[in-house]
């Protein structure tokens, strides 16, 4: 029993040792980077530098291996959380995910980024995607639909690395969490818009951890990743909670989950020990019913909300459509067309790679303008949908403020809980069960 109580400290010591190990091992790679700092020498004798031999593309059989590992990891973590109720098991699985999906597979395919491939494939029939992308996108959602966010617990390498660095969790104010919690919806909307218009995969481009896993980040991305990990020391999983667009989908499916993890294995004894145990603020505290609200008043309020929601969606859509030209400027073709339109003489100067490529393509300026106009018109429609989506999120967030859910016990918030199993270690009912079983 004593040993069980010290589990948190033991885990922290192990984490510190492993973090030091990773940092010291990582420093060894500095010599590898140093080799590439300067261009290769040119020999006067005419010797030509041989081409660097690059590894072949991953064989299809290994793609299937990735899918098997994903499904096995999801099943194992789900079993560890729901049946074994083992935090230490979840911890070791997250180490495995960091090693396999992170450093070995270099964070690709990842479920978070696969969202963009799926969107582009749906919108554009010419874009073919392999089965592994479909499985990486759908499997975590299906698991979450039945068992909660066990994917986030220890299978996602992005979440696992942040969870690993969480040493001194600080509780955030709930209002700040709610405000920052809107950002993933915005990021989701923008990533879908840019993927659907074949503009960019912004989730992959601005992924703060991929560069770390691939050991080839630019300085800015490495600094961003480092900043996220530094914040992760005190604020639990900042990327997952306040940026991850895939988390929005998992949040929704997890709310409907059939068998979500529980803090206590039996009846809650209201000891409140688990109250502040969640570093992610994902435990709902009991709310006592003070006075039953007048039914007429509540019906009137909900009717107003229902009537107002379409208006908010429309205003959002109109606002989004108003910004469509600004949003479209991220698209390289639109940007190029606008540069040429503003200053046609740039075509005579070999200034940028884009202009050079355009001249090589043999396309005329008129054709480029037509193509750009089509893309801008796609952005107009996309702006309406994106703005409408933001309006819906805004309206529902406001509506949520007026809804009070009465509950008797401390319960995990099904949408926001990452199923990390930390809270289970705080439950005395859990400890009694362990002692009785022993």
């Amino acid at each position: 029993m004593e040993r069980k109580f010290n589990l948190g400290e033991q885990l922290m010591k192990k984490q510190i040792v492993i973090i030091l190990f990773i940092i010291l091992t990582g420093l060894q790679f500095s010599s590898t980077f140093a080799q590439q700092r300067f261009p290769k020498p040119e020999f006067e004798s005419g010797h030509v530098q041989p081409l660097t031999i690059t590894p072949d593309a991953r064989a299809p059989i290994l793609e299937y291996l990735d899918m098997v590992v994903l499904l096995a990891s999801l099943s194992l973590v789900t079993w560890l959380v729901l049946n074994k109720r083992s935090r230490i098991g979840v911890f070791w699985m997250s180490i495995f995910s960091i090693a396999y999906f992170g450093f070995f597979r270099e964070g690709c395919v990842c479920s978070v980024g696969s969202l963009q491939n799926i969107v582009l494939a749906i919108v554009n029939p010419n874009y073919n995607i392999p089965i592994s992308v479909i499985v990486f996108f759908t499997a975590p959602l299906i698991f979450s639909l039945f068992y909660g966010r066990t994917f986030c617990a220890a299978v996602c390498p992005l979440g696992a690395i942040q969870d690993f660095f969480l040493l001194r969790p600080v509780n955030m104010k709930s209002w700040l969490q709610s405000v920052l919690g809107v950002i993933p919806y915005i990021y989701l909307g923008l990533s879908i818009l840019y993927a659907a218009t074949s503009t960019d995969f912004i989730i992959c481009r601005y992924d703060p951890f991929i560069g770390i896993y691939r050991l080839n980040a630019t300085f800015m991305m490495f600094a961003l990743g480092g900043a996220f990990l530094l914040i992760s020391l005190f604020i639990g999983r900042p990327y997952c909670r306040f940026l991850c667009p895939y988390g929005v989908l998992l949040n929704l499916t997890s709310r409907l989950s059939k068998k979500h993890m529980t803090i206590t294995p039996a009846a809650c004894i209201q000891c409140r020990l688990c109250g502040d145990s969640c570093p992610f603020g994902a435990i709902d505290k009991p709310v006592e019913a003070k006075a039953v609200e007048n039914r007429r008043v509540s019906v009137k309020r909900y009717s107003w909300l229902i009537l107002t929601l379409p208006l908010v969606i429309f205003i959002g859509g109109w606002t989004g459509a108003s910004f469509h030209e600004t949003l479209a400027k991220v698209n390289s073709k639109v940007r190029l067309a606008s540069v040429i339109l503003e200053n046609p003489s740039v075509l005579d100067e070999d200034t940028t790679i884009d202009i050079d490529a355009f001249k090589e393509s043999g396309q005329t300026s008129a054709e480029l303008f037509m193509e750009a106009a089509d893309i801008v018109s796609d952005f107009y429609l996309g702006g309406w949908i994106l703005g409408g989506f933001f309006g819906l999120v805004f309206g529902l967030t406001l509506a949520k403020l007026t809804i009070i859910r009465y509950r008797m016990d401390y319960t995990p918030n099904k949408g926001e809980c990452f199923s990390c199993a930390r809270c289970m270690d705080y439950c005395p009912v859990e400890k009694d069960a362990i002692i009785n079983n022993a």
Binding site: T52, T54, P55, D56, A57, I118, L120, A121, I122, N124, P125, N126, Y127, N128, I129, I131, I134, F137, T138, L141, I142, L145, F146, S198, T199, D200, F201, R205, R214, N216, T218, L252, T253, L256, K258, S332, I353, D356, A357, E360
Partner: protein, 69 residues
């Protein structure tokens, strides 16, 4: 008597599961189009491009050879 919240959850779960399976099946089973890379932004923005040996990357590199060198 059926619980209202549970009914909503079950319906939502069924709809989402159906959507995921139908959507996944459609993407998996729809006829594959001929290889035509209209999505050069993926290659252009990729930091792994120089060392990538995928056919799409080779095509992209061949098309923009002089600019990459």
């Amino acid at each position: 008597m059926i619980d209202r919240r549970e009914f909503i959850r079950k319906t939502g779960r069924g709809l989402i599961l159906g959507g995921i399976i139908a959507g996944g099946g459609y993407l998996l089973l729809r006829p594959k189009t001929a290889v035509a890379c209209d999505f050069d932004f993926i290659c252009r923005d990729c930091r792994q491009l120089k060392s990538c040996s995928l056919p799409e990357a080779d095509d992209f590199k061949n098309n923009t050879e002089h600019k990459l060198s």
